[in-house]
Structure formats: structure tokens, C-alpha cells
């Protein structure tokens, strides 16, 4: 095996320190984006600018106490993450340091210069080969598997750039950094294949082909699934002012989305929110498998008080881990909360580098970076054999200042994402959650809705119903305008029914209580039943009006309370919702009878 040349590690000297940016001289031969260790405290940094032998370094840790003259050492590698068994159930900071292990190593408060590996070196995993000695392999080929958690069968893949003939492959218990096989290339070079591989975070992982994302990613959130759905491999963004529930939406998706793996990136957000995830995920059960949600989750937490440069890196760390699981053929969902903090981190570094700013002080490359990030999502044919298909969806929260959607980050994001969930302060004040505005949000994936029902007719019907419901909601906005101008008396009975139905759609369907045991998640069949019931009432009411029944009598029907409470009917008793439709008919019949007499 070739040994790396350790002797000529390049060392320079610090000449300037200004917050998270350090400038060092004597750095000849270093490359852009190489990781360096800075100062006597051995802080971790990354090279972001080079002028001859002068390098600008963004430092991932607090720089207090660092000064000119101290050394800077090149590690000769770009910022990379370790990929292998042990990722699931982990909680990392922005540069993949395991936070749980750090607590043991250094206590409750983060110290500096500590570099623990992302994957535990002690733990042994049972490796089960899927190929035999002598097999020819190429990049991305699956050579074996490890049962990582009850939920995840971790496929061990040949790293990119390696191909040849496999030998010495054997079943057994291995730590991540020990060889499980050796691969000999045609020119005779041997590469050890381990459970673990590394990948530089700023580069997208390779793939064979990109496919159009057309399967619905079911989230169990009614307003999302029925009206503004996202697909496996699709991209969505959730902008909104503070207090409108961005984080709750992200948490709800992380909990209930029908993906195999969930990567949750808390980027520059609240510490207590991450704690909430950490405490809740091991308790909550995945509705599909019945296993704790933690068994399919990877968490990245770089809270707002942790160093700003590591915040910039955290989204890349997250997406690289997500891509790695996609490469195994899994459906992966990545939640990034919030991408605005990531953009602000870019701005802060850019300012310290004294770059010429574009809008609002953000660097000119902001839009390009955001686009490149979202473009790493997608449904793909993975590299290597056997043939497999993976998907990676990205759902990014955006926190525009003052909730102003003309903000650069929102605009740059809207250029690339296909789904827009617009959170509105007005709805949040009424405690209408999720506060996703039905009038301004959109989704380009609506066509996929009908395909997620086994019964084709049901799918078409659902699609038809959502169109109908949306039309009612749009009509409501106009009708309310009329009410505001001339009063409710001016409305025709038909319009009054429409108003009541749209209120019912809003309150009984779109409104969903994330903290209610049953209401927190609604399956597609239940969504279908609920919407059908609401619209059934609407149609029956219109018929009744034609027969001269008073609108006031219709609105007094007790069945309306049943409709309102349909959301609390558990999945197992879903037939009860269909029963409500019978009750509607019965009660309407009585009204008709009373008019007739």
C-alpha cells in the first residue's frame, strides 16, 4: 500500500485575524477548499481565497485568542464527511463532529480544536458479502450489506474511482475502518475496501442517470398532500416570517414523510428545537414500520450560536450524507431549517473577505450556490450494479427579514424549487396551522396526486375534488370582499352556501393540529374520505336550496359537527367518515320533508 507523504505538510503563519476569517502567509502549494488547522489551538478551517502564498481561511470555530505568528497547517484534503454504518441515529455539528461523543469528551459546553471522527471506530458491524471473490466491480457497485438499524439495511458500495477484481471478501464483524475486501485494478494497484468511505462535501456524488420525479412523497399533511404536493426527488421551499410555523412544518415532515431515510439539518436555528427533535424522535413511531423515527434519521445541528463558518458547511454535510443513502437505492428526504441562515453565513464570510457585495450585502454568487444546492435533489438511476433507483427530496425553510418575499434568498430559491408553501402571518395569528396560504402557494407536481391511489378512479376523483375545493376557496376571497363592502345580506343563498363550505374546507380540512395524537398525520385514503364528505355536504346543500330550504336551517344541521370532528377519527375507524355522508343525506331529507309540508 502506498503511504501518504506526511513529511512535507505545508505550514504557514497567521498574519491577520478578523472574526471568523484568518489570513495566513507562506502557504505555497495549498489548494482552494483544503482543510487547514489554525493556530496553537488547532482550530479547523477551510481555504476560501488564495493570492500567491497568502491564503484566506474561514475558520469553523471561534477565533478569540488567536493572533499573528501562530502556525497554520494544511491537511491536504478538502472538507469531507465519513460515510458508512453508524450515520443513522447520529447527531452531528456542521462539520460532522458527533455531538453526543463531544459531550462525553469535553462536557456540556463546546470547546475548540477537538476533532472526533464522524463514525465510531470502536463499534463493530456485521458485514454480509453479496458478491464472491473474483467478481469484477466498478464504482458504486454493491459488495455487501450491514443491518445498521432495524429500519435500514446499509449497502456497502465500491467508492467512486475504484474498479477491478475483488478478493479476500469475507463475512464477519468489522469496525468501519478495517478492510472487508481488497480490490485489484488492472494495473495491479490494490485498494482496500472498507465499510467506510469519504466524500468531499462540496461535490455532488456521481450517478448514472437523472429521472423525472413523478411519485408523490406522502407527508400526511392535508394541505400539502392534497393541494401542494411534493414528489420523491422533488424540491420545495417554505418561506415565512417568524412565528408562522416553518419549523413545525419541517418537524412534521421529518416525522411523517414516507421516505426511507430523513436527514434533518438545523442550520443556525434554536438549540431547544434540536433538543425537541432529539427527545421526540426516539419516542415517536414511524406509521409505516412501527419503529422509532430515530432509526431512520440523521440529525445535523449547527445552532445559531455555534460558529458561523460551520453553519455554512452544515447544509453540504447534510446533503452529502443524504446523497450517500440515495445511492443505496433509498428514498431520502432532507429538511434544511433554515437556508436563510446558511445564506447569511455566506454573507458574513464574504464581507470579511472584503468581496464586492450584490443585493443586501449578499455575495454575487448567492443565487448560483442556492441553485446548485437544490439541484443535488432528484430521482436518479444510481451508479453501479445492481440497477437501482434512488430519490432525494429537499425541503428548505427560508426566513426572509420581516417576512418580505422580495428578499434575495427567497427569490433565488423560488427560481429553482418546484413547490412553494407560503406561510402567512395572518393565518398564524388566527392559529390556523399549518399557516400555508392556499391562495399564493403552488406546486408543479399536482399531476402526481392521482397516481398515489391504487384505485385509478379514486385518484381521478381526488384530483377533481381538489380542483373543486380550490375553486371554492378562491371564490371565498371574492365573496368576502363583497361582504366587506355591502354586508352579508347582499349574498344569494348559493353564495352563502359556498362561503360556509369554504369555511368548512379551511377549518375542518386545511387546519391540522400537529400536536393532536390522531390529527398530526392523515393517510391519503382518509384525506380522500374527508374531502369527499365536505364536498358532499356542499352538493346536498345546493340541492336543498333549490328546493327552497332556508340556508339558516341547513347551517344548523348537527351533522356539521360530525364533519368538523372527522379529522379526529383514527385511521382504523376510517369507515365512520363514509357514515357521515349517510347522515348528511338523512338530515337533508328531513329538511326537504319539512319544506314540502
Amino acid at each position: 500500500m502506498r503511504t501518504k507523504i506526511m513529511a512535507d505538510k505545508k505550514t504557514g503563519r497567521i498574519v491577520k485575524v478578523a472574526g471568523p476569517v484568518v489570513i495566513a502567509e507562506g502557504m505555497t502549494g495549498v489548494r482552494m477548499y483544503d482543510v487547514v488547522r489554525v493556530g496553537n489551538l488547532n482550530l479547523i478551517g477551510e481555504i476560501v481565497e488564495l493570492h500567491e502564498d497568502r491564503a484566506s481561511i474561514q475558520v469553523y470555530e471561534e477565533t478569540t485568542g488567536i493572533g499573528p505568528g501562530e502556525p497554520v497547517t494544511d491537511t491536504q484534503a478538502p472538507l469531507s464527511v465519513e460515510l458508512g454504518p453508524g450515520l443513522i441515529e447520529s447527531i452531528y455539528d456542521g462539520i460532522q463532529r458527533p455531538l453526543n461523543a463531544l459531550v462525553e469528551a469535553e462536557g456540556e459546553f463546546m470547546s475548540r480544536g477537538n476533532l472526533l471522527p464522524g463514525l465510531d471506530r470502536e463499534k463493530k458491524w456485521h458485514f454480509q458479502p453479496l458478491i464472491k471473490d473474483g467478481a469484477k466491480v466498478g464504482p458504486g457497485d454493491i459488495i455487501g450489506q450491514v443491518q445498521e438499524t432495524t429500519q435500514i439495511l446499509h449497502k456497502i458500495m465500491v467508492p467512486f474511482g475504484v474498479s477491478g477484481t475483488v478478493h479476500k471478501i469475507s463475512e464477519g464483524d468489522y469496525p468501519v475502518d478495517q478492510p472487508v475486501a481488497v480490490c485489484t485494478a488492472e494495473d495491479g494497484t490494490e485498494t482496500e475496501l472498507k465499510l467506510m468511505q469519504k466524500w468531499p462535501v462540496r461535490n455532488a456524488r456521481q450517478l448514472k442517470n437523472r429521472l423525472t420525479p413523478d411519485t408523490l412523497l406522502v407527508t400526511g399533511q392535508r394541505v400539502i398532500d392534497s393541494f401542494f404536493p411534493v414528489t420523491k426527488g422533488g424540491t420545495a421551499c417554505v418561506p415565512g416570517p417568524f412565528g408562522t410555523g416553518k419549523t413545525v412544518v419541517q418537524h412534521q415532515l421529518a416525522k411523517w414523510v414516507d421516505a426511507d431515510v430523513v436527514v434533518y439539518v438545523g442550520c443556525g436555528e434554536r438549540g431547544n428545537e434540536m433538543t425537541d427533535v432529539l427527545m421526540e424522535f426516539p419516542e415517536l413511531k414511524d406509521p409505516r414500520s412501527g419503529e422509532p423515527l430515530m432509526k431512520r434519521s440523521v440529525l445535523i445541528a449547527n445552532t445559531s450560536n455555534m460558529p458561523v463558518a460551520a453553519r455554512e458547511a452544515s447544509v453540504y454535510t447534510g446533503i452529502t450524507i443524504a446523497e450517500y443513502f440515495r445511492d443505496m437505492g433509498y428514498t431520502v428526504a432532507l429538511m434544511a431549517d433554515s437556508t436563510s441562515r446558511w445564506a447569511e453565513a455566506m454573507r458574513e464570510i464574504s464581507t470579511r473577505l472584503e468581496e464586492m457585495p450584490a443585493e443586501e450585502g449578499y455575495p454575487a454568487y448567492l443565487a448560483a450556490r442556492i441553485a446548485a444546492f437544490y439541484e443535488r435533489a432528484g430521482r436518479v438511476q444510481c451508479a453501479g450494479t445492481p440497477e437501482r433507483e434512488g430519490a432525494l427530496s429537499i425541503i428548505g425553510a427560508v426566513s426572509p427579514p420581516g417576512g418580505d418575499l422580495s428578499d434575495s434568498v427567497v427569490q433565488a430559491t423560488l427560481h429553482v424549487v418546484k413547490v412553494f408553501w407560503s406561510l402567512e402571518g395572518r393565518l398564524a395569528y388566527q392559529r390556523h396551522f399549518p399557516a400555508i396560504s392556499w391562495l399564493t402557494s403552488y406546486s408543479f407536481y399536482k399531476d402526481s396526486l392521482k397516481d398515489c391511489f391504487e384505485d385509478k378512479d379514486q385518484g381521478r376523483e381526488m384530483e377533481q375534488m381538489t380542483v373543486e375545493a380550490m375553486a371554492l376557496l378562491e371564490q371565498e376571497a371574492e365573496l368576502l370582499e363583497i361582504v366587506r363592502l355591502v354586508g352579508a345580506e347582499a349574498l344569494s343563498p348559493t353564495d352563502r352556501v359556498s362561503l360556509e363550505t369554504s369555511r368548512s374546507i379551511r377549518e375542518d380540512y386545511l387546519h391540522q393540529n400537529a400536536f393532536h395524537e390522531v390529527d398530526t398525520h392523515t393517510s391519503m385514503p382518509k384525506q380522500y374520505e374527508m374531502l369527499k364528505t365536505i364536498l358532499h355536504f356542499h352538493k346536498q346543500a345546493l340541492v336543498a336550496i333549490k328546493a327552497d330550504v332556508e340556508t339558516a336551517d341547513i347551517f344548523k344541521l348537527t351533522v356539521r359537527e360530525d364533519i368538523a370532528r372527522a379529522k379526529y377519527i383514527p385511521q382504523a375507524e376510517i369507515d365512520k367518515i363514509a357514515d357521515i355522508r349517510k347522515t348528511i343525506e338523512d338530515q337533508m331529507k328531513k329538511l326537504h320533508a319539512s319544506v314540502a309540508t
Binding site: G19, T64, G67, E108, F109, G271, M274, T303, R347, G487
Partner: protein, 466 residues
């Protein structure tokens, strides 16, 4: 240990900044002492080092400093607070120096005021309900231990009374534990600070309080350090002496303005309204120091106060604060004019951590459904109020009228209470039911039917009898 080095090489002074040259061994973030020609001492902190040039921000301002005769001493350490259990009951300056007539403090240790971030994995989720005795907080926006819940106020609104009431009444139900109040005044008037201090004196809570006071006429740059001193004291009390600490930071707008002054002096590219681009990060390093830690008894609960210029919630200071803190209590000028006090604007106010702090065993099982319903009904009543203002009450439908009556009663009976009225949480909850008793069950969609059946009857009966 490094020996302390002295330099007389000040090369330029501009605004609050000073450049010192030919310095060796200067470290970013460390502090300096500046001795003026007349022997007086000022304090500064290193903002940038480049080769042998050092940029220093001077906390007390640069007036009177000259280029030739000033001596700069590099102390080779960050800003520190000397702590010991004796800090309780004491008053400090905005730079952490005792400024009352008390005896000199014998420090147990010195702590870096910048602290270090709490590892998110070590945090414990805040879920212990704090009873404040204020209905709009307890009932609708419950505060829990370890939360940071700011008060968004405006000039002329009674935020001082509210924070004083909080400091006076806040308790955890059924527990008598060591508590402390840490108060940081940043650029507020003598009167405002004295009001708070007097209130603590009256209740005897002064013994359990630590105060860091930077008044409106004290050096502005000093304010950048003041909240960090206060939080260092709070961390010491909470995580080393096992106390439950309530930190009040008043007023964060002044803090941000000081930060802007430094940023402008450094000629940095400004963000919105001239505030620096890193304002979010900087505020986070203050606010995120609230919280709880697993296996530690104490906690830090934080109530920052800020005044919104022109009552504008989208101004960078309240806006960025709202993105970091776990909710906000917003005060309303129109309620204040209507003599509703405390004038808490219920609809945009929010407590993000409420859900884990309430319910059976903490407050009462009906709490969550009840506040959801109160919010929904009040929001609808508010809309009706607005409609009535445009078209006159006569144009409202019967239903809208009912909701408007509800909103009026809600403001008069629920929101409004005396600053010395300490309502137990059960009373607040019952008050909610009483107000909702004017609606039919079918209108109370947000409440579980079982809870309505359990809690409502007695109020409906009382209503009918009346």
C-alpha cells in the same frame, strides 16, 4: 503566563476605534487597558489584528485619548467576570465592576464573558410551566423554564411594569427552589432602572438579584459587553450553584445600536437599516445562552425587552430577535389607549415552547384546546371589530356581533388585569371557559367534545342564572 506588555504606539483614533502599531503577540478578542496622560484608565477589546497592527474598540469612548501619550497594555486574556456566591444582591457597572457601596468581592473564579455554546446534545428540553400570574401569558403564551421569551414594546408602553410583575410573581407550581433574578440595563433611563430596583427592594427580592447597569448616559460601546456579563453571572448561578435564574435584558434595541456604531466605524458593508450583516449571529450568541442542561438542576429563563422603532415588527432588531427567541410577547398601542393593561397584543404574541409545558399534570388537561379556541374566537371577533369600524355595527351579521361582543369582553376581563393581580393558572383557565360559555358546542371546533362536557356546564349554568 505571558508578561503584560505596554505600548505607546497609538497611530490613529476614529469614533470608538483606536489603532495601535508595532505590537507583537496580540490575540483577537483579548482586552487592553488604556492609560491616559492624566492617569485614568479605559478598557478596550481587540477587534482585528493584522501583522503588528491592532484595532481596538474602546468601551468608554475615545474622548480625551491622545496619540502621543496614551499607554496601551495588552492583558492577554478575554473579558472576564469575577464570580462568587457573593454577587447576589450586588450592583455592577455595564463592564462588570461593582458600583454599589458593598464590600469588595473576593472572586472564586474568573469566567470568560463570551462563554462557549451549549452542545445541543447536552440541552434538556424546557417543559416546566412557570406561573406568572398574568393571564395573557399563563393562559395563552405559557412561559417555561429555560425559555427565551422577549417583550416587544414601543416607546411609551408599560414594558417596565410587565417585567417587574414577572420578576415579582414568576414561580413554578408546587416547588420552592433557589431562584435568582439577573437584570441587565442597557442604555435605559435612571428612572426606568430605579423603578425596577425599587420594586425588587419592596418585595425583598433584591437579596436574590444581580444587576448590571449601563444607563443612558453611560458609554454606549460598553453596552455590547453588558448582556454578556449578565449572562455569565446567570450561567454561574444556574449551572454551578443550581439556581433557577430569570434574566431580564432591557433594552436590546440600545444594544443593537451600539453594535451598529462599531460596525459603521469599521466601515463594514451595512445590512438592513445600517445594522451589520452579522447582527443575527451576534444576537444569537446572547439569546441562545438561555436554556437547561441535562443533569443540572438550574436553568436560565430569559426575558429580553426591546422597543420597536415606530412599533414596526419588521425592523431588524425585533425581526431578528423573533427568529432566534422562542416566541414573543407583543404590546399593542391601541389596547394601551383603550386602557387595557397589560396591553398584550394577543394574536401576534406566541410562545413556542408552550405545548410541552402544559396539560395534565402540569397545568390542566383542557389548557391546549382552550387556548386554541380562545385564539380562534378572538381572531374572529377582531375581524368583526374591524368590519364594524368600517361599516358600522348594524351591518354585521348576528354571528359576527356575537364574536365582537366576545372580543370586547375578552379584552376587558381576560387581557386586562392589575399589575399586582397574581392570578393562579386555574383561575385563568376558568375565566376562559366562562367567556366561551356564550357559544354553542358546534362553534367550539377546536375543543375536544369530552372537555366541553366536563368543564363547560357549570359556566353555562352560571350564565343562565345571571
Amino acid at each position: 503566563m505571558l508578561s503584560i506588555k505596554e505600548y505607546q504606539t497609538v497611530s490613529s483614533i476614529a469614533g470608538p476605534l483606536m489603532m495601535v502599531e508595532m505590537v507583537d503577540e496580540a490575540k483577537y478578542g483579548h482586552i487592553v487597558d488604556i492609560e491616559l496622560a492624566d492617569g485614568s484608565i479605559r478598557h478596550g477589546q481587540i477587534l482585528q489584528v493584522e501583522n503588528d497592527k491592532v484595532l481596538v474598540q474602546v468601551f468608554e469612548g475615545t474622548r480625551g485619548i491622545d496619540v502621543d501619550k496614551s499607554t496601551v497594555r495588552f492583558l492577554a486574556k478575554p473579558l472576564e467576570l469575577a464570580v462568587s456566591p457573593e454577587i447576589l444582591g450586588r450592583v455592577f457597572s455595564g463592564l462588570g465592576e461593582p458600583k454599589d457601596d458593598g464590600p469588595p468581592l473576593i472572586p472564586e473564579k474568573r469566567l470568560d464573558i463570551n462563554s462557549r455554546p451549549i452542545n445541543p446534545y447536552a440541552r434538556d428540553y424546557p417543559n416546566e410551566f412557570i406561573q406568572t400570574g398574568i393571564s395573557t401569558i399563563d393562559g395563552l403564551n405559557p412561559l417555561v423554564r429555560g425559555q427565551k421569551l422577549p417583550v416587544f414594546s414601543g416607546a411609551g408602553l408599560p414594558h417596565d411594569q410587565i417585567t417587574a410583575q414577572l420578576a415579582r410573581q414568576a414561580t413554578v407550581l408546587g416547588k420552592a427552589e433557589a431562584f435568582a433574578v439577573v437584570f441587565a440595563a442597557m442604555g435605559i433611563t435612571f428612572e426606568a432602572a430605579q423603578f425596577f430596583i425599587n420594586d425588587l427592594h419592596e418585595t425583598g427580592a433584591i437579596e436574590r438579584a444581580v444587576m448590571f447597569v449601563n444607563l443612558a448616559n453611560d458609554p454606549a460601546i460598553e453596552r455590547i459587553a453588558t448582556p454578556r456579563f449578565a449572562l455569565t453571572a446567570a450561567e454561574y448561578l444556574a449551572f454551578e450553584l443550581d439556581m433557577h435564574v430569570l434574566v431580564i435584558l432591557n433594552d436590546m434595541t440600545n444594544y443593537c445600536e451600539a453594535l451598529r456604531e462599531i460596525s459603521a466605524a469599521r466601515k463594514e458593508v451595512p445590512g438592513r437599516r445600517g445594522y451589520p450583516g452579522y447582527l443575527y449571529t451576534d444576537l444569537a450568541t446572547v439569546y441562545e445562552r438561555a436554556g437547561r442542561i441535562k443533569d443540572k438542576k438550574g436553568s436560565i429563563t430569559m426575558v429580553p425587552v426591546l422597543t420597536m422603532p415606530e412599533d414596526d415588527k419588521t425592523h431588524p432588531v425585533p425581526d431578528l430577535t423573533g427568529y432566534i427567541t422562542e416566541g414573543q410577547i407583543i404590546l399593542s398601542r391601541s389596547l394601551h389607549r383603550k386602557a387595557v393593561s397589560p396591553p398584550v397584543d394577543v394574536l401576534p404574541s406566541l410562545s413556542r415552547l408552550k405545548d410541552k409545558g402544559i396539560g395534565e399534570g402540569k397545568t390542566r388537561e383542557d389548557h391546549a384546546d382552550l387556548y386554541n379556541q380562545l385564539y380562534a374566537a378572538y381572531a374572529r371577533g377582531k375581524e368583526a371589530q374591524e368590519l364594524a369600524a368600517i361599516m358600522g355595527e348594524a351591518a354585521l351579521s348576528e354571528e359576527d356581533k356575537k364574536y365582537m361582543t366576545f372580543a370586547d369582553k375578552f379584552e376587558a376581563e381576560y387581557v386586562s388585569q392589575d399589575y399586582y393581580d397574581n392570578r393562579p393558572v386555574e383561575q385563568t383557565l376558568d375565566l376562559g371557559w366562562e367567556l366561551l360559555s356564550m357559544f354553542e358546542n358546534v362553534e367550539l371546533k377546536r375543543i375536544d367534545i369530552k372537555l366541553i362536557e366536563k368543564y363547560m356546564p357549570k359556566f353555562r349554568k352560571a350564565e343562565r342564572e345571571a
